[in-house]
Symmetry: C2
């Protein structure tokens, strides 16, 4: 074909027409090279938000993004797995899941992001471990995976540079919130990282990117279809995100809870989600026949200390202090710990994850704007959760803060997160929906 | 209000929400100052194409554009009129209408554009008159209007700079084709130029910007509503554009035909449209009670030489050679004139304006891209038109070209424009619809 012109691609997308694979490949490559101006790309992005993309078009866009940079390949004597979460409050799953699956004989290179707004980021959490390096070169990564089978790192700039450039533009042009763009962005990074089996944790609820189950299922389906189109084995779990996952919200606090979980204790909901995601990965990658078997095996790896051993190796390999696993007091600690005591008696009906995240933001455990500094020690630990019976004076939460004043401010917010009722709340119906094969 | 953020305006428009007058004023002013980046403006423009604008929002945008620059005011002892055409093939109406209305005691400052693609531009036509200056400063304009009551000039950069910047961006981002943006762009320039009575010639058909009557009526209604909202007297005539207006297509050829028409001869369809637009302007501006009276008066002004006298004054005032009016051979002439002789016998059913425009483009009478040079002498003159009976060998058209080779190429195209049938075609139903008061 003769070289397309961007103005024609914009006009056609504006009319709701489908782009070809060749056109999308040209566009991603030229945009990465800087020959398509931002204003044309911005108009095209908004036209995509308007008209959407067909299933195969979304796949072609994803493949075009992948082709803009390097891709990784791994030795084929071990199953290579990966996981993505659409983000939530208190989601420290990766820090447990990666060493756990590595301890079960998988290659697991997990690239993560930083937190923004109410959503935390695994990279920020890892950086609370003294010495931990989140940025590895592709060569360093290769050697580490050869040695210990896993890595937990920041997105490398060599992979999918078109996605990074596109995302930066979407962020300032109101075009983040668009299903095919979200799906292709996520999946391009998963495809480039080389996994054969991928599990997606698509959250829905008040503190999730997708507020309703229906929207989350639609996003899950879009991402699964891309993965299938690219001949990967992909499954999505659609999981609730109304209350924080686990008890800890805040970077070092969450690492501590991840350590608890990888050593066989930790909160039930976090352990259950880790085991569920891991079991699906084992079935998808062919290392287990049935989910039941995989769940049992993963439980044993957590309880026996085998997974914890792999977390130590992982931290050490990336320059961090591995002693935090056996001695979490080596993690940064806040100077001020304030107990939020309950005033009413009754049952905790709800702990609003979004409000807890607001408290964490107030404490600088998260960031409002990109580039904001964060306090690794700050955060909130829930001492009472949904379904717990509480009495006046009973501690509901612990606030970890850099100052008394910040702790006081956060307390006011944390109080608002708790809804105390007079009756024991029903066990909520929070279906985990499986999308994909 | 606190200063808006462009990202919020984009997001709200993307959701289909209405902007406020203050937000649009802020946006137009900041964009003109260069503080809103093109990529954000481009995303907003595409969101407007998607979601549209409410009636009052379109008015507010228009007023915001007007406020970005100077506005003109004229003495109030004479009715001040203006006219806009959405563009067609062979449309030399303004060159007749402006001196005609000035000769009837009106102030008429008409700002026009250049041609692009198949649509001609009055400014290109005027520049074929030796010496004619299309660019006047506001001070020069003021003095000329004081003296002769009219001007025919290019858009001055002092007026509505936000529209010029916005249009340049729309042109490269696929957002030209959007009703509220078109309507506000046209009307901002009319409002800034200070007329109280405005007639809009909105064309529909195969060679028009709006292909269907319905779309043309919708655009007409949108523009009339803006004018009413801004307390001007506005009416739109929705007129057909399937065949060229008049017989001449090409710059000097069209000026010659305009001179014929202003001196009382010229093709019937052109004379009729000029008189119709002029009569509506006279009624709207209060200088005539009834359309019938106005039509009769305008006919007399054309036939008596009074209008021609005003065209001479206008050309002289703008530095052109006024002798072209009595001696059109002073206009540029092509070196090569080729007659296209018919081959079939029958009736001319149609002369496709779009195809004639393609022939004119081949001859460099128009431009494909902004900034392309044009040949003022080149063009096509139709010797047979719809409804004419023709025999083999009879001349259908004259091609005015810079070379034999170009004339030969154009001939092939001109032949395709003619559809000859065996029966006399019915007089086409080409309703002229009046929109507005």
């Amino acid at each position: 074909m003769s070289a397309p012109r961007m103005i024609d691609l914009i006009t056609r997308k504006k009319r709701g027409e489908e782009m070809t694979a060749a056109e999308l490949a040209w566009m991603a490559s030229e945009f990465t090279r800087g020959t398509i101006p931002d204003y044309q790309m911005a108009a095209w992005l908004m036209a995509v938000c308007w008209r959407g993309m067909t299933e195969r078009e979304t796949l072609w866009l994803t493949e075009a993004l992948v082709a803009s940079g390097r891709t990784l390949e791994w030795r084929d004597d071990k199953p290579v797995v990966d996981k993505h979460s659409t983000g939530g409050v208190g989601d420290k799953t990766s820090i447990v899941l990666v060493p756990l699956l590595a301890s079960a004989g998988h290659i697991f290179v997990k690239m993560s992001g930083r937190g923004l707004g109410h959503t935390g980021g695994t990279i920020d959490k890892l950086e609370s471990i003294p010495g931990y390096r989140v940025a590895l070169s592709v060569e360093e990564l290769r050697r580490q995976v050869e040695r210990i089978g896993c890595a937990l790192i920041a997105q490398t700039p060599d992979l999918v540079p078109a996605d990074a450039a596109l995302y930066a533009l979407r962020d300032v042009t109101g075009t983040v919130d668009c299903m095919p763009l979200i799906a292709s962005s996520v999946m391009s990074k998963k495809l480039a990282a080389g996994a054969h089996a991928i599990v997606l944790d698509v959250k829905y609820g008040a503190a999730a990117f997708m507020p309703t189950l229906e929207e989350a299922e639609a996003l899950a389906a879009a991402m699964v279809r891309i993965g299938e189109g690219a001949r990967r084995r992909v499954r999505a779990l659609v999981t609730p995100m109304d209350e924080p996952l686990g008890r800890a919200v805040g970077n070092a606090l969450e690492v501590r809870e991840a350590i608890d979980t990888v050593t066989g204790s930790g909160p039930d909901d976090l352990r259950a989600l880790v085991i569920e995601l891991g079991a699906h990965l084992m079935v998808l990658s062919g290392s287990a026949r049935h989910l039941e078997d995989a769940r049992a095996a993963l439980g044993i790896l957590l309880d026996s200390g085998v997974a914890a051993d792999h977390l130590e190796k992982l931290i050490a390999a990336q320059g961090g202090d591995p002693r935090v696993v056996t001695d979490p007091s080596r993690l940064p600690a806040a100077s001020e710990i304030r107990i939020v005591a309950g005033e009413a008696s009754g049952w905790v009906e709800r702990v609003d994850a979004r409000v807890i995240a607001d408290a964490a933001l107030t404490l600088r455990a998260g960031r409002l704007r990109k580039g904001d500094a964060i306090d690794p020690a700050a955060g909130v630990r829930l001492l009472a959760r949904r379904g717990d019976e509480v009495r006046p004076g009973q501690p509901l939460a612990e606030i970890h803060a850099a100052s008394t004043e910040m702790a006081r401010q956060a307390e006011l917010i944390v109080r608002r997160a708790f809804r105390i009722g007079e009756e024991r709340p029903a066990v909520p119906e929070s279906p985990v929906v499986v999308v994909g094969e």
